[in-house]
Symmetry: C2
């Protein structure tokens, strides 16, 4: 199996001003063509460090992917380090990349400067892969067997995430045209509603019975719950693939409704699938959201799905009580008697927004994200969520609600937990309809 290492270059990563998200996308892409990623690293914008670190990675790996350090500004020195590492004798200009640079600058109304032109120059040892989404060219370096004891490939990608990710298909094609590898197969089962340790106990016997070539990992996350990832090595053997599929079937038996999807599914992407299944599919049912403590996050998650405008009408963020009363028809008496963070308020918000926006489904949140603002009876981390559905036959509305207690001190984590629990409640209500 071919191995790879990924390296992000940039002082901004080492001092913690940006997070390297590219390596994650690149890992996933390499895995998909059967390349095993042995390590991910970040180093600073220092010429000598870059040369020695990349040299070490090339010794230990068949493929090295480098991101970052290719911007037009003076703090970027990766290209020079790569020229040295590959024994270049000079630079050459990529005319194809130059055309992209001209097009991008024209569209943005920016005048072409020398530092923009210089971006099209690459070491004469590099093969250029045109970057269609940005100004910095992608470079391929091929190191013959004599240099590191094995043939090694190095690809240099821009650091800007959407440019790096946009280049991946070209990179994968280039790698595959040079190497052939054994596939690894992954299946990820998305669960929501069980803590990691409880989940582990529940599937303990199943996990213990897995053969050695199946590897299980737990991936907990505030937004999407716990993903269970099953990896099958040397999956070209059809018997192994069959065993893996059987193991996943058994997992569905054990976990039932706690499973909401597979692979890259999220709570927000399964919702349109549920709306398309009968009996909802009789007409295009619609969704509305009412949010207090989540401040727009539930709505943003729903609209992160391309095509969501088909079933999503919109939301009201009723951050002040005045908006809850005036727009969502939550009565002042209710707020006085139960407070804004209450089952009654969440249910009234869910009903109110469905009427206001005239939708079939709705979901609502009202809670205390913190860090301040809690009380003994309603500590920070308390949230009431509600989901509602109007039966198209009877015209009657069913409302369900739950109390969420998040133990986090982080406002962001609490908001994420509240929002994902709200989407999950909507998902469960939809699945109940489908049964």
């Amino acid at each position: 199996m071919k191995t790879a290492s990924i390296c992000a270059i940039g002082d901004e990563i080492l001092i913690g001003q940006i997070v390297d998200t590219n390596s994650s996308h690149i890992s996933r892409a390499l895995n998909s063509i059967g390349v095993r990623v042995k390590g991910i690293s970040s180093i600073g914008d220092d010429r000598q460090t870059i040369i020695s670190h990349l040299g070490n990675l090339l010794k230990d790996n068949d493929i090295v992917i480098v991101t970052g350090g290719l911007g037009p500004t003076k703090d970027d020195i990766t290209k020079d380090a790569l020229a040295c590492l590959s024994g270049a004798t000079g630079y050459k200009r990529s005319e194809a990349q130059m055309e992209v640079i001209e097009r991008i600058l024209t569209r943005r109304g920016i005048q072409m400067l020398d530092i923009n032109r210089a971006q099209a120059d690459v070491p004469d040892t590099a093969n250029v892969i045109v970057n269609r989404l940005g100004t910095a060219p992608i470079m391929e370096f091929v190191f013959e067997k004599g240099k590191y004891g094995h043939e090694a490939l190095l690809y240099s990608l821009p650091g800007v995430p959407y440019e790096a990710i946009g280049a991946l298909d070209d990179i994968l094609a280039a790698i595959q045209s040079r190497f052939h590898s054994e596939p690894i197969l992954h299946r990820s089962i998305c669960t929501f509603g069980l803590a990691e340790s409880v989940l582990a106990k529940q599937i303990e016997a199943w996990e213990d019975s897995l053969p050695e070539y199946l590897h299980l990992a737990y991936l907990p996350n505030a937004i999407y719950g716990v993903r269970l990832r099953l990896s099958c090595y040397n999956a070209a053997d059809p018997a192994r693939k069959a065993t893996m599929d059987k193991a996943v079937d058994d997992l569905y038996e054990i976990l039932g409704n706690y499973i909401y999807g597979e692979g890259g599914d999220t709570l927000q992407t399964v919702i349109p699938r549920l709306l398309q299944a009968p009996p909802q599919a009789r007409h295009q049912e619609t969704i509305a959201v009412a949010e207090s403590c989540t401040g727009g996050l539930v709505s943003n998650l729903i609209t992160s799905v391309p095509g969501s405008s088909v079933y999503y009408k919109g939301s009201v963020t009723s951050y002040s009580n005045e908006v809850k009363t005036n727009l969502l028809n939550v009565s002042e008496e209710l707020l006085e008697q139960h407070g804004a963070v209450s089952q009654e308020c969440a249910e009234a918000m869910a009903r109110g927004v469905a009427i206001l926006l005239d939708t079939d489904w709705s979901v609502a949140t009202t809670g205390i994200a913190g860090p301040g603002g809690g009380s003994e009876a309603k500590p920070v981390g308390t949230c009431w969520i509600a989901a509602a559905h109007r039966n198209p036959d009877t015209g009657q509305t069913e409302v369900v609600s739950r109390k969420i207690s998040s133990a986090s001190a982080s406002r962001e984590v609490n908001m994420q937990r509240f929002a994902s629990n709200a989407l999950n409640l909507l998902r469960l209500l939809m699945q109940q309809k489908l049964l």
Copy 2:
């Protein structure tokens, strides 16, 4: 200057299912006490790899921070590797951590299992720092000078981000009690509205005049614009600090209104500061948001600021035209004549939501985030944004609007650009009032 290396452990990182965000927080924290981070790395859940990689890091660094691999489930083997690396002869139970585990499980209504109890066990070579936010204890290992040629410290933190971040103050205190270091000073200037290359050209002469101990870096981001980070090494020398402060003053002269803040400022955190400055401060002015293509993101950014309920009343996500008309009073004629993605619609939305929620300020977005849905006249990436202010003296409303063209193929990036430009337009309108 003491140096450090940070290592995240977990197969889930190497196959790209999660992004290591902890290392970024840890870097920032170490920097703040004058420790230079030389590298960040991620490796898999493999005992031998962990032992050899951490051994190498300890050879090259004074401090090694490890995250991850401490969960209750079977795929986590970090603790065992650390026992081996540190020459432990057995395990001991941390009673203080046991109390936290009991408290957390009780609060979540989860029954205590053996795998939960085992989390309180640590190698007998470890000093325990209690993790108050989660079940896995934080461990400190001190390696005497004899082992790696210098005294070295290793800290093992849980992988769950809010637990790792929550532990940082304790870790910093532990490091400082053992080492004393030379400070590095950073100042970050937050700009919005200039592309990186244009910004670079504009400050070229200034940048060329910087002394060698001042280092400049450009950090572009879809949400917060381009941050310029100036780093001053050996900043204990007061002359150096003075030179740095003068350089920043000069930068303000050159960039003017393109600068919106410093340090960790974001467009959403500067808004409350602007509201508190005269003449706004005469009464507590308020904000409302109307969103179409950004789907709740602008509202979510505003509410990500603790205390935002003081000035933020709420928002309407008018994802369907029906909601734009019924709630925001955007006339059907306007929509027919100009379309939803138009200057007229954005301005009407901003006016409409300010009236609906009775606020002083408002901001609106309407555009095409993609990937589908564009036309030749209005391609994907087109967005109209508007901001409005009602003059408290005259009662008249001033509305400003701009067209945004984002060249990204990513729905998420486009949404982020639209949202941040909307916040920036609101910021500029507020600053104009202040001039």
